[in-house]
Symmetry: C2
């Protein structure tokens, strides 16, 4: 199911009746939120700045006010909404609804975010890790095709991991489940340093940050490339710029992009043997144009080939690997879907606070 962008104002979408679900996806820069119908279609979407250094209670009240204001423009009220799904980055304690010590939300440490939103909104709130919520979103309304076992790697500043098993997010015992960016692809103690402070993790090789770093190193070592010019302007060297240079035929840029595919293939080999997911999705901005571009297809093909070299042949042949489809909406759509699943599951599903 594709996302229906109805977010241009105007009348209520025909057929969009309750139950409706809200999804809220808190990031370090923006809070994205949206209203989703019972089939995962987006009826409204919006975002507001997080102001991550300010007290989170202010952000919660700004979100609720923004939701009320936008709902009103469509003649909806908060009481038309069945529940809210709230996704945040870790670290977190999902059962108790707490944000713990999130690196990107310095003002939000040890904050009972789920209950604060339930109190402010008067609605039941289900709480989830943002990367796992995005995986649930792709499962419910995106490339995941409702398959109940799914792995999503989101390539951006870091490598986010979202995992669905048995149709549920793999939250883990200590709310660290699905941290797939931190599997080890190089055991050498002198391997690349990850943002988390450990070495050899997938994220230290395959994130956009890592791609830029590998490019800087190659240029510093004297490799020639059209990208050499951008080093005069430090802001010019980005994963996007490297991807554009690769698409334009720059040899070094192509090599760096395809090395990223190699690293992802190594990591996916481990992940596929453990999880045996129905589908592996690659999300995030670093898709090199996606399926519609030759470089995007080459990137994906290289990942598949590397997986094929390292995984049981039967299993490799059966595992679909493709790009995700919901983009930056996956998190709030998935959060809304988790709220819906929690509601359908009744009291059996934990981590919901009634409003």
């Amino acid at each position: 199911m594709s996302v229906t962008d109805t977010d241009g104002g105007g009348d209520v979408v025909a057929g969009a009746c309750p139950p409706l679900w809200l999804g809220v996806d808190v990031g370090g820069t923006n809070i994205k939120w949206g209203l989703v119908d019972d089939g995962g279609r987006v009826l409204l979407r919006d975002h507001l700045p997080t102001y991550a250094d300010q007290p989170p209670s202010l952000a919660i009240h700004r979100v609720v006010a923004a939701i009320d204001a936008r709902l009103a423009t469509r003649n909806w009220r908060r009481s038309d909404v069945q529940g809210i799904g709230l996704a945040t980055p870790g670290t977190m304690d999902i059962p108790s609804g707490m944000i713990l010590e999130p690196p990107n939300l310095p003002g939000w440490r040890h904050f009972p975010v789920r209950d604060a939103l339930a109190d402010a909104s008067g609605l039941p709130v289900a709480f989830a890790n943002d990367a796992n919520a995005a995986a649930f979103g792709e499962h419910w309304a995106g490339s995941g095709g409702k398959l109940d076992s799914l792995l999503l790697l989101t390539l951006g500043t870091g490598v986010g991991g979202g995992v669905l098993v048995h149709g549920r997010t793999l939250d883990g015992t200590h709310s660290y489940g699905g941290e797939c960016g931190h599997i080890i692809i190089d055991p050498d103690p002198n391997a690349r340093m990850c943002g988390c402070g450990r070495t050899g993790h997938l994220e230290a090789y395959a994130s956009a940050t890592a791609l830029v770093k590998r490019c800087e190193e190659a240029l510093a070592s004297g490799r020639s490339s059209s990208l050499g010019r951008t080093t005069l302007d430090p802001a010019g060297l980005s994963a996007l710029a490297i991807g554009q240079a690769a698409a334009a035929g720059d040899g070094l840029a192509r090599e760096l992009v395809l090395d990223t595919a190699l690293y992802l293939g190594i990591g996916l080999a481990s992940l596929i043997h453990v999880l045996d997911p129905a589908i592996v999705l690659l999300g995030g901005a670093m898709d090199f144009g996606g399926e519609s571009s030759p470089l995007g297809r080459e990137f994906l093909e290289k990942i598949r080939r590397e997986v094929g070299l390292r995984v049981f042949p039967d299993l490799a042949g059966k595992t679909t690997i493709r790009f995700a489809s919901l983009g930056g909406d996956a998190g709030f759509i998935g959060a809304a879907g988790i709220a819906r699943a929690a509601s359908l599951g009744g009291s059996g599903l934990p981590h919901v606070r009634q409003g």
Copy 2:
């Protein structure tokens, strides 16, 4: 809960009333089976040879006949048994109850083993992967302490992986879930060759087979060791012999054993980030004496230390790593437990064939 060994003949165990469960664990050499009560206690256990080259239907009938004969000695009948759990090695198709192409059961290819046992016994049969069944056994009646998220690595000829998530075995989409012996710990294309034909897998470094191979290589390269003498007798060089030499203070043997812990630590770092299990258990014969021996404790301590170097500190600190407790009984106990869980779960749990 420890296993109560009541398997010495004699009267019916006091308090052992139905519901009773049978577990059957098919291996390449032996078929182990046992009768288990509703709390996971073993009331009877036995084994018979598999004869893996012979038609599996003969083995199924031999198992049922052996079960009947042993039950009769305790004044039980098959009708006292609620159901059977059947565990086999892969490759398999769990939903359809098929064994596919198991390397260790050459005569059993493409055999509908679950339904054959249901037909022969007249009892409902639940089907599971043997390593995942062992994980369920440790969860139900062993070191797993009923925690609903557990990882079991079984160190033997290979490295078996069993995973419980959400209290259920991680069967995977194509019945390959939990193949943790095949995660990559060395990405070098010239890394060690795994039994599966791919390179760099954990099993190629940390299995008993790999330990012996690493020892042979060290001796061949001229390293001195008390083990050098055993190379005159090829049968003498075994994981057990290496462990005994290490316990006796042999330098090379100690190094090889602790290298095994290093490799396991690398692999576990990836697995813990993905699964965030409540507990990690190490099973199989290669426990170097277990918790009760200095070498076993040193082995475990080294694994914990290596995990601590590679995993988020908070997560590493929260994850328990210890030895499993059910030994070779884990598979049939877990299979029996899965049959029980399937029965309690009603028709919602798949993979059960009524007898």
